[in-house]
């Protein structure tokens, strides 16, 4: 058995309206921030996975991401390994 830590990054698909991102862009003026654009706001879900091996662990995360964390109609997701622990 080995323990791994993963993050799933869920972001709005290209072409899908992102009201959150637009709201943040709208506020940049107030902050006096310049040069920032194409803001997309999504979710980040971090988790610890206890599985036989790296491959098994990733498979679990893959399923969780596809079935629960992301809405395939409007969101894309990417899995990121953030460190295996022995």
């Amino acid at each position: 058995m080995s323990i791994h830590r993963y993050a799933v990054n869920v972001t709005p698909k290209p072409g899908i309206l992102d009201p959150q991102g637009r709201a943040v862009e709208g506020s940049l003026g107030h902050l006096g921030i310049e040069g920032v654009s194409a803001i997309r706001v999504g979710r980040r879900v971090e988790m610890t996975v206890d599985a036989a091996d790296e491959a098994a662990a990733r498979a679990v995360v893959e399923r969780l991401a596809a079935e629960l964390l992301a809405n395939p109609l409007i969101e894309a997701y990417a899995i990121e390994s953030i460190g295996g622990i022995a």
């Binding site: 698909k13 290209p14 072409g15 899908i16 309206l17 637009r22 109609l73 409007i74």
Partner: protein, 763 residues
């Protein structure tokens, strides 16, 4: 289909147009072949949704004239005067299919769309009601849909700051795979601010404001993409529309300010059909044309195809006709509200909708060909074999309607009904909505009709939505008529006068004769009921093709009613008011259990028909109760609907915390007396001293009155008196008591926990 297969199909078919429709199009554009862009515009405008090509002939039969009607069907919403120079705008619309695909966004954009119909006319939205219908609450997919739809309605309505004050939540197996999300919105306006969706005055500017235009909601016509693009990357053109309630809030404020300051000649929201629909409709209404400058339309994404820009259903956009000398002010208003704004064309006098890009004319279509002169289909309907007609009211009750021989005693049945998914408290749903923002909500969701005071007057607006698919499935005419009766009754029993009806007709595939017959019957029932009750139909919406692999939905005519209460101080509610008040039943029970909650619960294939409806009696009942309330005789009034008399009494008890001791004369069948849902009945309470006057008044209106008992105690007691009761008891080997006696606390518990349990939110 592979690209190869697709390319053998001619484009018009891939866009969902029939060959006859193509011929009609050729004929409308002067005999030439339309180009791909024009075909795309036609395909959207001639869709059932935009053109009403199957339902138009039927809708013409609805009664639309009525006292105070300022705007009726055909406008974005119906508008009726309520005095003091004020008017109410209201309309109901469906977002069934988008909600089936993506429940949160589908419901959210449904709310956004109906709100735009309201403020487009110059009215400030003051209330939303959501009428929701789903399949089996125990089914995982259904639970996902319920959760998403409810979050979507709240997520949007709560943010824009319009209270959600009422609605419906109904479970019926026929909705599995095809939920119904019908949303009604109500707005208030100063009558002289009424603004119509038209583009008058050649030379005026056509101004688009609100969100930028992206690729969302292109749906059907996206086949064009595969025709024009070599590779077809679906992620490039999502058909799911995402709502932005904050943008909508800005749109509301900006639009109302533009109207208040008289800066626009006409205003139209963008919904289905996007820019194509808004421009062609406003031009057609004004008898003008519009020349669109495609390149001037603000986009959200690079390299969009012309057809994508013209039919995109990106949300939160408005289109206005503006005099050139007003443009600067219009721009200033939009910019202050942080909304992109652009001149995208001009009003012309040629009657055409034309599209130009970089100096090239890409399309030219007579505006009316896309709208008022769109194709109309005369469909054929045919009734299914052997249906049973409803027994006419007055026919004596069939003794075979009775509690099933399962040793169920009426108290247990009552608790089961109160805790059933369709009758239990909707609090877990409407608690997720802001029902009090605006500080005008006198009666919010949870207990019959919603009541909103009209600030600065003594008046209040009263609203209810109702539908009846259970009876509709047995008799679509009766189902629609009963829905009108119940919705208006819910309004009348507060003391308010129903002003008008809006309706959402949810049916199946109109090319199927049986489905079309259901639509015909529904419209006939709607029209007859509205005529008999003297309420005009001021607007509505038709949603067809509500079918899934599981089959078609039960025909559902969803009815929304708005009423006017002259003096809110006289408002009467459905809950018991005081110990010692007398309880009267106004109206007669009639036979028939089919389509009732009791029949569903008992699982008994009840062989009688549904109870019939006598519209003249219904009209008399509503007139009578309104007069009684106006004369101050009534303490509470609760209509008998789902679950019958026993549930009506139980609700009044639960809502007040007061019990009651009553005695019901059972002619033949305890089931019909206690749980039958025959219409045109009200449970009324009054101070004992008013009982004689109330009884007399009811009789003067030709209504039967039965004294039931008195309010008080901590339990609900219903004695079954008369031959029917004891007879039934004996037949049942006396397993059923002749009296039903349940503590109010037990009733409340069943009612409170029924829905969360059904949905698995609680065990």
């Amino acid at each position: 289909m592979t690209v190869a297969e697709r390319s053998v199909e001619p484009l018009h078919r891939r866009l969902g147009l029939t060959d006859d429709e193509l011929d009609a199009i050729v004929d409308r554009v002067g005999g030439r072949d339309p180009n791909d862009l024009e075909l795309a515009m036609f395909s959207v405008m001639w869709s059932e949704h935009c053109s009403y090509k199957s339902s138009k002939p039927l809708l013409r039969t609805l009664p639309t004239a009525g006292e105070g009607v300022v705007a009726g069907p055909g406008e974005n919403a119906g508008v009726i005067s309520i005095g003091d120079g004020l008017a109410v705008a209201f309309k109901i619309e469906s977002h069934n299919h988008p909600s089936a695909v993506e429940p949160y966004q589908g419901a959210a954009t449904g709310v956004g769309g109906i709100l735009r119909d309201i403020f487009t006319m110059g009215a400030r939205p003051i209330a939303v009601l959501d009428a929701l219908r789903f399949g089996d609450p125990g089914d995982a997919r259904t639970r996902h849909l319920v959760d998403g739809v409810v979050r979507g309605v709240g997520g949007y309505g709560n943010c824009v700051g319009v209270p959600t004050v009422g609605g419906e939540l109904v479970f019926d197996p026929s909705y599995i795979g095809n939920p119904l999300v019908n949303v009604m919105a109500i707005g208030l306006l100063e009558e002289h601010r009424l603004t119509l969706a038209s583009a008058p005055g050649p030379g005026n500017l056509v101004v688009l404001f609100g969100s930028t235009t992206g690729r969302d909601g292109i749906g059907g016509a996206s086949v064009l993409a595969s025709a024009t693009f070599t590779h077809d990357d679906p992620s490039k053109r999502p058909s799911v529309q995402v709502g932005d309630p904050f943008a909508e809030k800005l749109l509301i404020e900006a639009s109302l300010e533009l109207i208040e300051r008289g800066l626009v000649e006409g205003l139209q929201d963008l919904g289905a059909g996007g820019i194509t629909c808004a421009t062609s409709e406003t031009a057609d209404r004004a008898g003008t044309g519009i020349a669109i400058d495609l390149d001037a339309i603000p986009r959200r994404e690079p390299d969009m195809e012309p057809f994508e820009v013209l039919i995109s259903e990106s949300q939160e956009r408005m289109c206005a006709a503006v005099r050139p000398d007003r443009w600067e002010e219009v721009r200033e208003v939009c910019e202050r509200w942080g909304l992109p704004v652009a001149i995208i064309g001009r009003v012309t006098d040629d009657g055409d909708l034309s599209v130009t890009s970089a100096g090239h004319e890409l399309a030219r279509i007579p505006a009316r060909a896309l709208t008022s002169d769109a194709i109309v289909h005369e469909r054929a309907g045919s009734a299914p074999p052997h249906r049973r007609a409803a027994p006419a009211p007055g026919v004596s009750i069939d003794p075979s309607d009775r509690l099933p021989e399962r040793g169920m005693d009426p108290g247990a049945v009552l608790l089961a009904l109160l805790g059933s998914a369709n009758l239990a408290s909707r609090r877990p749903i409407f608690e997720q909505y802001d029902s009090t923002v605006g500080a005008d909500t006198v009666a919010g969701p949870g207990r019959g009709a919603a009541v909103l005071r009209v600030r600065g007057t003594t008046r209040a607006l009263v609203a209810s939505t109702d539908g009846n698919q259970a009876v509709g499935a047995l008799d679509p005419y009766l189902g629609a008529a009963l829905s009108v009766a119940e919705a208006t009754r819910n309004v009348s029993i507060t003391g308010a006068r129903p002003l008008g009806v809006t309706n959402c007709l949810n049916y199946g595939d109109p090319t199927r004769p049986e489905a079309f017959w259901q639509l015909q019957e529904g419209v006939r029932g709607l029209a007859d009921a509205c005529r008999a009750l003297g309420v005009p139909v001021t607007g509505g919406n038709v949603s067809l093709y509500n079918e899934s692999p599981g089959g078609a939905i039960a025909p559902t005519a969803e009815i929304g009613v708005v009423g006017l209460l002259e003096d809110v101080a006289l408002l009467v509610g459905p809950a018991f008011v005081a110990e010692g008040d007398e309880i009267l039943l106004i109206g007669e029970v009639t036979p028939g259990l089919s389509g009732s909650a009791y029949a569903a619960l008992a699982g008994a294939a009840v062989e009688d028909g549904p109870p019939g409806l006598d519209l003249a009696r219904e009209a008399a009942l509503q007139a009578g109760i309104r007069e009684a309330i106006a004369r101050g005789l009534v303490a509470s009034a609760q209509d008998v609907s789902g679950g019958g008399l026993a549930v009506a009494l139980a609700e009044a008890a639960v809502w007040s915390g007061l019990g009651a001791t009553t005695r019901v004369a059972v002619a033949n069948s305890p089931a019909v007396e206690l749980f039958g849902e025959s219409p045109s009945r009200i449970v009324v309470t009054c101070q004992p001293r008013f009982a004689p006057a109330l009884t007399l008044l009811a009789r003067q209106h030709g209504l039967s009155v039965e004294p039931l008992g008195t309010v008080g105690g901590d339990r609900l007691v219903i004695e079954l008196a008369g031959a029917g009761a004891t007879g039934a008891a004996e037949e049942r080997g006396s397993r059923i008591a002749d009296a039903l006696e349940v503590p109010v606390a037990a009733l409340r518990h069943a009612w409170d926990h029924g829905l969360p349990r059904a949905l698995g939110w609680e065990d």
